[in-house]
Symmetry: C2
Subunit: 110 residues, 2 copies
DNA sequence: CATATTGATCGTAAAGTTACGATTAATATT
DNA sequence: AATATTAATCGTAACTTTACGATCAATATG
């Protein structure tokens, strides 16, 4: 009858979900936008640009860092954040491959 | 506190976050993979392919539907799901535009 | 008509997210 | 040395997500 339910999720599925989750909050998209525009940014500058408290921004930065999308460099008392280009490209490729899969529906339904 | 006001972020930021959120769980990526492969799928078939209960799958389908990525057609007692091509393309474009923004870091830090 | 199948929805528990202020550790400045 | 600045972390409250079983309405089949 039915197919097996044995599958846990594939590497691709977990990977796409991880990157998507990192970008699943507008504040984190806004942070990425800032880093893409400025190339590098001190944490305090990001706090100034967003309508969020320092601790909340720090939390969002942590999430992006854990997904691998950004990295931080200590610069004295400040921390300079920037995009992890290698990982950003990897995320881009992973998501692109998912979106590329579509070929136009020949009309089974919908 | 849970959510954030949608008005505080740009349309692009909210839009990207919305699509990313839809894909932020491996089960939902798996569902999209299935629909991309088969072009159309009865809900029950999706349940058979995933290690989740019927109600949980239905919940994930609802999330994808609310993000606009899929649509469902009633076929007798069953419901046939497929990708909303227009919205899928929109999501693709939105995410692509974000990822395209990167030009290589000239070395401010990191 | 009676019963089975299908899939949405309800109720609910556990876990996770998001937000903030307070605190802490590190570095800078006076 | 004393104080200010910076950003991570802690503690906590409120909300959301994820999961499941139970139930319901709609269709299908005997």
């Amino acid at each position: 009858m039915g197919a097996s339910k044995t599958t846990t999720y594939s590497i691709q599925e977990n990977s796409v979900a991880k990157y998507a989750k990192a970008l699943s909050h507008p504040a984190r998209v806004a942070i990425m936008n800032l880093l893409l525009k400025k190339q590098a940014c001190v944490c305090g500058d990001i706090v100034d640009e967003l309508p969020l408290s320092q601790s909340t921004v720090s939390q969002h930065l942590k999430a992006l860092k854990e997904a691998g999308l950004i990295k931080g460099d200590i610069e004295g008392a400040s921390v300079c954040y920037c995009i992890d280009e290698k990982e950003w490209t990897k995320a881009k490729t992973q998501l692109n491959q998912l979106f590329e899969k579509l070929y136009i529906n020949t009309g089974k339904c919908c």
